[in-house]
C-alpha cells in the first residue's frame, strides 16, 4: 500500500493472520493484497489466515478467483484460510454469477472464523 489510508490491514494474532479489507479493491490492489499476504505467511509462520471481506461491495469473477488463489497458495505454505464476512447480497450475486469459494472454508464473521481455526487446531492436536 503505497499511499493514502490503508486499503487492507493485516494483523497477527498468535499464529493466525487476520486480513481485513477496508474498501472496494480494484484488480491491481487485489493482486498486491495477495502478494502482501502470501509474503507475511512466511514471515510470521502463520498456520491460519482469516480474510474479512465484509467491506467488499462486489466479489466478481476476478475477486473470487484471487481469494481462491490466496487460499491455494496459503495451503501450499501450510496455512488454512477462512473467508469471513461475505455480505448476503454479495453471496446472492456470486451464486447468480456462478462463483463460489470452491474448497475454501467460509464463516459468517471474524468470531466464527477464529472458532473454525481453533476447532481445526484441536482436531490436529488430539
Amino acid at each position: 500500500m503505497n499511499s493514502g489510508p490503508a486499503l487492507v490491514s493485516i494483523l497477527r494474532q498468535g499464529d493466525t493472520l487476520v486480513a481485513s479489507v477496508h474498501t472496494a479493491l480494484d484488480d491491481s490492489e487485489m493482486i498486491r493484497f495477495q502478494n502482501d499476504l502470501v509474503r507475511q505467511i512466511g514471515e510470521v509462520r502463520a498456520r491460519g489466515i482469516i480474510i474479512d471481506v465484509a467491506a467488499l461491495d462486489v466479489i466478481d469473477s476476478f475477486g473470487s478467483r484471487t481469494l481462491r488463489s490466496i487460499a491455494d497458495i496459503a495451503r501450499l505454505r501450510g496455512a488454512t484460510t477462512v473467508i469471513v464476512g461475505i455480505q448476503p447480497e454479495v453471496a446472492f450475486a456470486m451464486v447468480r454469477l456462478g462463483m463460489d469459494m470452491g474448497q475454501v472454508p467460509t464463516a459468517l464473521d471474524l468470531e466464527e472464523g477464529l472458532a473454525y481455526l481453533a476447532r481445526l487446531r484441536a482436531v490436529g492436536a488430539s
Binding site: D26, D57, F62, R65, A93, R96
Partner: protein, 314 residues
C-alpha cells in the same frame, strides 16, 4: 470550453433590437469572457493579466466563426433565428407569419441553435468533419436529443472519431446536468471500481436496493474488466429508464479487437486469459436483458438492462 453553455444566459440580453453585427460582437465577447473566466478560475492567486492582443485575436476569430456558422444555416433558419434572437420577435408572432404553431417554431429554433453550435465549432477549428456520420452525431449531441443520439449511435462514433470526440466536449457540457445518465471512461483497473460504484449509486437513486444493486454492480464490474483486459479503453454508460418500465441500462463500448466467436464467449468456461470464463455469461445471468454485438476489428458493445422489481428487491 463552457463557451456554449452560456448561451441561455446571453439570450435575454439580445432581445434589444441590436444590429446583427453588434449581436455577433456581444456573443463573441461574452463567450470569450466566460471561457477566460473558466480557464483562469483555478489560478486566482496568479496576478498575471491575460494578454490583450491575444484576446482581441481570439475575439475576432470567434466572430468569424459565428459569421461562418450563420452563413451555413439555410436562409429560412437564419431568418427565423435572427428575427427571434435579435429583433425579439415572439415565437407566437413568427408562428402566425409562417402559418404554424408556436410550439413548432420553438422546436425549429431549438434545432437551428443546435446546428449553429455545431457549425460554430467546425468553423472555429476550420475543419470539415471527416465522415458522413459526424454531422448527424454532433447535431444529436448539440440538441441533447437522446433518442436521436441512440439512433445514430453517437457514443460509439465518439470512440471511433477523434475529431468528433474533441469537438463534442463543449456540446456534452452544455444544458442542464443530467442526473439520470452517467458516463465512465474505462482505461485502467481503478475505472472498473468507478464504473460499478457509479452504476450502484444511480440505481440506488432510482429505488433499486440490496441484492439488485449488488448484482448490477457485479455485472458492470465484469463488462468493465473485459474492456480493460481486451481493449485497453472504452466507456460505460449507465442510464435510468422509465419506459417501458423503470430500469437501468448499462452499455459498455470498446474499440478493441472484437470477439471472434460471440456464441463461445457467452458459454461458461470460455476464457482467453487466465480467468474463469465467467465474465460475460455471468453478467448475462445477473441482468434481465443482455445483448452483445461484436465485429472483428471494430470493437464490442455490450448492452444490458435490469428492470426494477419492487418485489424482488425487498
Amino acid at each position: 470550453m463552457r463557451v456554449l453553455a452560456a448561451e441561455d444566459r446571453i439570450e435575454p440580453g439580445m432581445i434589444e433590437p441590436y444590429a446583427i453585427a453588434t449581436v455577433r460582437n456581444v456573443m463573441a465577447t461574452m463567450w470569450r469572457r466566460d471561457d477566460r473566466e473558466v480557464r483562469n478560475r483555478h489560478r486566482v492567486f496568479d496576478p498575471t493579466q491575460p494578454d490583450d492582443v491575444e484576446n482581441v485575436l481570439v475575439a475576432s476569430e470567434e466572430q468569424l466563426a459565428i459569421n461562418e456558422a450563420l452563413r451555413r444555416l439555410t436562409d429560412r433558419e437564419r431568418q427565423v433565428l435572427l428575427a427571434h434572437e435579435v429583433s425579439g420577435a415572439a415565437t407566437q408572432m413568427l408562428a402566425d407569419e409562417a402559418g404554424s404553431t408556436a410550439g413548432a417554431v420553438a422546436a425549429q429554433l431549438k434545432r437551428t441553435r443546435a446546428r449553429l453550435r455545431v457549425e460554430y465549432l467546425l468553423a472555429l477549428d476550420h475543419i470539415e468533419p471527416p465522415t458522413d456520420r459526424c454531422r448527424p452525431v454532433l447535431l444529436a449531441l448539440s440538441s441533447a436529443d437522446r433518442r436521436r443520439q441512440r439512433e445514430v449511435d453517437a457514443a460509439r462514433h465518439l470512440l471511433e472519431c477523434d475529431v468528433c470526440a474533441r469537438l463534442s466536449e463543449p456540446l456534452l457540457d452544455r444544458g442542464p446536468v443530467r442526473d439520470d445518465v452517467l458516463h465512465v471512461t474505462i482505461g485502467a483497473d481503478p475505472d472498473i471500481v468507478s464504473a460499478r460504484r457509479a452504476a450502484r449509486d444511480l440505481a440506488a437513486q432510482a429505488g433499486f436496493t440490496g441484492t439488485d444493486l449488488t448484482m448490477l454492480a457485479t455485472a458492470v464490474s465484469e463488462v468493465a474488466r473485459n474492456i480493460v483486459r481486451f481493449a485497453d479503453n472504452g466507456d460505460v454508460t449507465i442510464e435510468l429508464l422509465e419506459r417501458p418500465r423503470r430500469g437501468i441500462r448499462v452499455v459498455a463500448r470498446d474499440m478493441g479487437p472484437g470477439i471472434a466467436d460471440v456464441e463461445a464467449a457467452l458459454q461458461d468456461g470460455y476464457s482467453t486469459y487466465s480467468g474463469l470464463g465467467l465474465g460475460l455469461p455471468g453478467a448475462r445471468r445477473l441482468m434481465d436483458e443482455f445483448n452483445l454485438v461484436s465485429e472483428a476489428g471494430h470493437g464490442t458493445t455490450v448492452s444490458m438492462t435490469k428492470w426494477f422489481d419492487p418485489k424482488g428487491s425487498a
